[in-house]
Each structure stands twice: as structure tokens, then as C-alpha cells.
Amino acid sequence: WLWRSGLGKPRNGRAAAVLLNKFLLARPVAVLTRPVEDCHHQTCKFHTSPRSFAGSKAASLHWTSERAVSILLLGLLPAAYLYPGAAVDYSLAATLTLHGHWGLGQLVTDYVHGETSVKVANAGLYLLSALTFAGLCYFNYHDVGICRAVAMLWSL
């Protein structure tokens, strides 16, 4: 909010100071509306809005799936070391690509603004992830496979 107030390019110092003033004056009002009795012991209790407010469960399911894939990927790392082979190779290709795709998707959500820009960015991301997955599968099929490749690289 601070930079969107126009602080990004201060044309002259006074304009920046005025804008900064305006926003910092606004902030104390926001602080006053927070329930004071909850902020003790370096923790703050917060309340979320009731579940019935959400139109669909898609976002919630997406969040849970992201964590599930992260845990799966975590498990695949020792598996790649202990049981290298085609099963782990293809699992790694899929999980790595999906985890990366969703992670980069969060970047798009955070940093890309504007309807068309978001659509273009997401389309580019889909293309990148598709090509990455295709490339990894190609490598697994026609070449040594991810686990063996890492082993070979490390024996250098």
C-alpha cells in the first residue's frame, strides 16, 4: 500500500512527504479498530470468517493439495536415494513440475496485476510447466532417468 500510494517515483520530495503523511495518518485508525485484549504474550488471536462465506471450496482444496504435493515431494527425496528407478523417476518428474507450477502460480498472483496480464502470465506458465514435464518424461524414457543422472553427476 505504501508504494501504490505513488511513493515509487517521488517527483519532488514534498509530494512524497505529503503522500507518506497521508498514509501514516490513516494507519493508526486501522490499529485502533483491532481488538486490544487479544494482543498479549507476543501472540495475537485472529478470527477467520465463517466457512459459509466462501462461494466454492476450490481455493481451500487447492491450498490443501499444495501442501499434500509438498509432503509427497519431501518423501520422494530419500526415496530417490534409497530406491532409484523408473517409478521414482516419473513420480519426481510429475511432483517436481506440479510443485513448481503451483509455486510460480503464487508468484503470478502476488506480482502480476490486471486481467489480461494475469491471463497471459498464466498461459505462459502452463506452457512452461507442460514443456518441463514433457522434457523430464522424455529424459526418463530415452535417457538414463533423473535418479541415475544425479548419481552420475555426483560421481564426477
Partner: protein, 135 residues
């Protein structure tokens, strides 16, 4: 008051004709580690994508490329440094990722715990990177 003091703090950025948005913030360990988590994630993703795309586009198999690197006769210390450089962002992202998952369970969110777990992640990252690069 607050506005003027922040402007004072950010003045060296303004003098360099940069936006003060990064200078007026009080940087903290959790904040820095959070951006590093994102940074390492992007870097690792780029590496994986590069690997996948080069498998599709560059002729020659993996073994031939490894032979090419072997023929360069790089010293062992350079090889160790390269391995360390590869494994360090992966280890950081992995350990900090576990820290994130613990937060998602609702645990360890108090401020001192944030700093403790952060330091633990950094220590584990260095130790595991050193160990893995030596393998």
C-alpha cells in the same frame, strides 16, 4: 513524527534516485528468510525447467554431456564448489519448506519461535549442504 522519521531513514535511497520502499522497512530474519524461500524456489524451478527443456532441444545424451564436463579436467575444489552451489538452494528450500508446513499445522507461530526455527533452518542448510556436496 513517524512520517518524517521514515523519510529520514529512506533518504539515502532517495539520494540514489531509488524508491525508498526497501529502505524504510525494518528488515528482520523471518522477512529475509521468507524472500529467500521464494528466491530459491524460483531458482530451483528455473533449473528444473532448463534441464527439461534442454533434454528436448539439445542433441546428445546425458552421458555425452558429462563426458564433456569431465574433459575440462576441473579441479576437485571447483567441483565441490559447484556441487555446493547446486545443493545449497535445494537444502534451504527443503528445510524452510518443512518450517512452512509446521506453520500450516498452526505450530511455532510465536515470535521467539519464529527466530529459533529460522536459525535452526539456516544451521541445517549449511550442515546438509556441506555433507551432500562431499558425497
Amino acid at each position: 513524527m513517524a512520517a518524517l522519521s521514515l523519510r529520514h531513514v529512506g533518504r539515502h535511497c532517495l539520494r540514489a534516485h531509488l524508491s525508498p520502499r526497501l529502505c524504510i522497512r525494518n528488515w528482520s530474519l523471518p522477512m529475509a528468510m521468507s524472500i529467500c524461500h521464494r528466491g530459491t524456489g524460483v531458482a530451483l524451478s528455473a533449473g528444473v525447467s532448463l534441464f527439461g527443456l534442454s533434454a528436448l532441444l539439445i542433441p546428445g545424451n546425458f552421458e555425452s554431456h558429462l563426458e564433456l564436463v569431465k574433459s575440462l579436467c576441473l579441479g576437485p575444489s571447483l567441483i565441490y564448489t559447484a556441487k555446493f552451489a547446486l545443493v545449497f538452494p535445494l537444502m534451504y528450500h527443503t528445510w524452510n519448506g518443512i518450517r512452512h508446513l509446521v506453520w500450516d499445522l498452526g505450530k511455532g507461530l510465536k515470535i521467539p519461535q519464529l527466530y529459533q526455527s529460522g536459525v535452526a533452518v539456516l544451521v541445517l542448510t549449511v550442515l546438509s549442504s556441506v555433507g551432500l556436496a562431499a558425497m
